[in-house]
């Protein structure tokens, strides 16, 4: 006697999937709580910074008044030093984190960057909900614009449009970290020098990191190559994401290519000063410093579908073929978003 084979019944929901569903629900709840906590912390930090900020310029006024209280006779080294210290600490904090991030300095720059974001470039941001509220996250974007304005703008977008108000640590090219004035400016506003060790250290703390894999090839590309993504380095960002389990968010910035149209390169001028490239734009260097004012184009920042790397083990970071394939996949995804945007865009100035 043979037992009739019974039909296989696929259960609607097994124990395992139910458990997974409740687990998911719970993590979403936990994440929302986490987001809320972050937001409160952020607001508190801003309150503290604002209070500190409102107190210190008074110090400066007091010190300047003291300096000239008795006319020029009262001017001494100590008094001058005190005025300089008050001036410095009115917009810098005394201590920074080990990457040089300074909350007070960032707070000082914030209104200006918000103006550039909201008024100058009228940035339109989409897909912000795809950026997770916590955990290691890698925002990968196209790089353009001669001067790296896209970095701070992505930062403002995440800070203002994301419910968790995440602070994005940008990976800055070595060459920017090398240049006078720009080096301390970037460090104080939270950027870190782009090398794998730094990126992994920050991601392991569960922070959000922004990276431009095109690097100098992207930011200094000639105007005729605009919106054609350059090679994505050697896929270092994929390796970092695989090592730390970070989620990759492909991000497309449109509008930044036209802020300084890089019509011709005169790199030999910049070389003695340590500059990696020296652009000739319609305004620079002909108008001098005025030429460094970016054109008020209309920008969009689109956060794309996250790339889930959780199915790969950590060791996959040592597989160059896989790393390159994933890197190409991200590049392709960003290029597709850009092409879609460009097809819909009617005007450089009004979008």
């Amino acid at each position: 006697m043979s037992a009739r084979p019974r039909a296989k019944v696929l259960p609607f929901e097994t124990k395992a999937t139910r458990a997974a569903r409740t687990r998911r629900a719970r993590t979403v709840e936990a994440q929302e709580k986490e987001d809320l906590k972050r937001r409160v912390e952020d607001l508190e930090a801003r309150l503290r910074a604002a209070e500190a900020g409102s107190r210190l310029p008074e110090d400066l006024v007091v010190e300047v008044t003291r300096l000239f209280a008795q006319g020029f006779k009262g001017v001494s080294w100590d008094r001058v030093a005190r005025v300089l210290a008050a001036a410095h600490f009115s917009w810098h904090s005394e201590e920074t984190d080990e990457f040089g991030y300074d909350a007070k300095f960032t707070e000082t720059l914030r209104p200006f960057l918000e103006f550039m974001y909201a008024v100058w470039w009228r940035v339109e941001t989409t897909g912000i909900e795809r950026v997770p509220g916590s955990g290691p996250t890698l925002v990968v974007a196209n790089h353009s614009g001669v001067l790296p304005w896209d970095g701070p703008m992505i930062n403002v977008a995440l800070r203002h449009e994301h419910p968790a108000r995440r602070h994005c640590r940008m990976l800055a090219l070595d060459m920017f970290a090398l240049l006078p004035f720009l080096a301390p400016l970037l460090a104080r506003s939270g950027a870190i020098r782009a090398n794998p060790e730094n990126a992994i250290r920050i991601l392991e703390r569960g922070e959000l990191v922004g990276v431009f894999p095109e690097g100098v090839k992207g930011v200094g590309k000639p105007f005729k190559n605009r919106y054609k993504l350059a090679r994505f380095g050697r896929g270092g960002f994929v390796r970092i994401a695989l090592t730390t389990g970070a989620t990759i968010i492909p991000t497309a910035v449109v509008g930044a290519e036209e802020i300084h149209p890089n019509l011709a390169q005169a790199n030999f001028i910049g070389r003695p000063f340590g500059l990696p490239y020296f652009p000739l734009t319609p305004t620079f260097p002909w108008l001098g410093l005025l030429g460094t004012i970016p054109l008020p184009t209309k920008w969009s920042i689109d956060f794309g579908e996250p790339l889930d790397l959780s199915r790969f083990p950590k060791e996959a970071a040592d597989d160059p073929i896989l790393v390159n394939r994933l890197s190409e996949q991200v590049r392709h995804q960003i290029q597709t978003i850009i092409d879609g945007r460009l097809a819909r865009r009617r005007s450089i100035w009004f979008g």
């Binding site: 100590d78 300089l84 810098h92 005394e94 040089g100 080096a183 301390p184």
Partner: protein, 344 residues
């Protein structure tokens, strides 16, 4: 525990180390090898006059190590300040280290502790934010001060490989700053005008001498191997140091600074050659995680504490004025440290 040999005992750190070991009751185990006898109020010490720059120094050290029954060597004979006589510095730091290592290995010394600097990584724009011990050291650096230290480290690493029965530890100390520290960089801070590089403001790590001493003692009585960064907690930007100590910064463009410094150095007007400018241009911050996990060393003082203690001692006026509201917290911080010391 056999006897402990100390070279460079009359250096700032060496002298503190010596006093500490005598206080801790190791006075009878200490043997000092140096060109001059250190004068220490704590008591008499066993001293041998040895000049490491002499060609036969290794044989002399070997005989003495064997005769004294040395089991641990603390090699501290390094210059923190750049020397005008670079040949002599090279003979002492590179060749002298080779002599001590050879003598120690031949005398079957169990444990070898060497002083080094976090500056050996060199200040480069490409440095990671926190440099780990495994980072390769700059090869054939232009700065003689740095080149000699790197060579000494290379000798130590090669002996560690060739003589596995001798455990070699290299302690890379962050720059020291505290009330009694007198170095070329602290003397720059003693002037009213402090030259800086225009447009650069690197982060600094400053180690309190108490922490340096503690780390050295721990390493001496430990058996771990390899290099260790001995770092304080936290960092401060250079500008904070200048403004808190009530100085007027004099920013110099880097295109001028290097050759101007070299010219002034050649004329004898400044203490350090231009190679050191890199350290106020680019970051050179080390990661102390390995010392914490393997040596169990955690700095009791932060960079800010070290800076504050230096300012309070050297520039009391600037300290009291710029820190009116924070004085109390500083005082309480200091008292908590002293209570820690009593407990130790």
């Amino acid at each position: 525990m056999g006897r402990i040999a100390i070279t460079g005992a009359s250096s700032f750190l060496g002298e503190r180390f010596l006093r500490r070991l005598i206080r801790d009751g190791h006075g009878d185990d200490l043997v000092v090898f140096d060109v001059a006898e250190p004068s220490i109020s704590e008591g008499a010490i066993h001293f041998h006059k040895v000049d490491l720059t002499e060609p036969a120094a290794d044989q002399a050290m070997l005989d003495l190590f064997k005769a004294e029954g040395i089991e641990t060597v603390a090699h501290l004979a390094f210059f923190t300040n750049p020397r005008r006589d670079t040949t002599n510095a090279h003979e002492l730091e590179s060749i002298g280290t080779l002599a001590v290592l050879a003598a120690a290995a031949a005398a079957n010394v169990k444990s070898f502790v060497m002083r080094s600097f976090t500056f050996v990584y060199g200040a480069r724009a490409q440095n990671p934010a926190l440099i780990r011990e495994a980072t390769p050291l700059p090869h054939r650096a232009d700065l003689g001060w740095l080149r000699d230290k790197v060579e000494a480290e290379e000798h130590a690493a090669s002996f560690a490989k060739r003589y596995p029965e001798m455990s070699v530890r290299v302690l890379r100390f962050a720059p020291l700053l505290g009330p009694s520290v007198r170095t070329f960089y602290s003397r720059i801070f003693d002037r009213r005008l402090v030259p800086t590089l225009l447009g650069y403001d690197p982060l600094l790590q400053l180690l309190h001498p108490d922490d340096a001493e503690e780390a050295l003692v721990r390493a001496t009585f430990s058996s771990v191997r390899g290099a260790f960064n001995i770092t304080p907690r936290g960092v401060v930007p250079l500008s904070t140091g200048i403004h808190l100590s009530g100085k007027v910064p004099a920013p110099v463009p880097h295109l001028v600074a290097y050759w101007a410094t070299d010219a002034l150095y050649a004329a004898g007007l400044v203490e350090a050659p231009s190679g050191f400018i890199d350290y106020v241009r680019y970051p050179c911050i080390a990661d102390g995680a390995r010392a914490e996990s393997e040596l169990g060393f955690v700095a009791a003082h932060s960079t800010r504490d070290a800076l504050d203690s230096y300012i309070a001692y050297r520039h009391p006026a600037a300290h009291s004025v710029s820190h009116e509201p924070e004085r109390e917290t500083n005082a309480s911080r200091d008292s908590s440290h002293s209570s820690v010391k009593v407990g130790r």
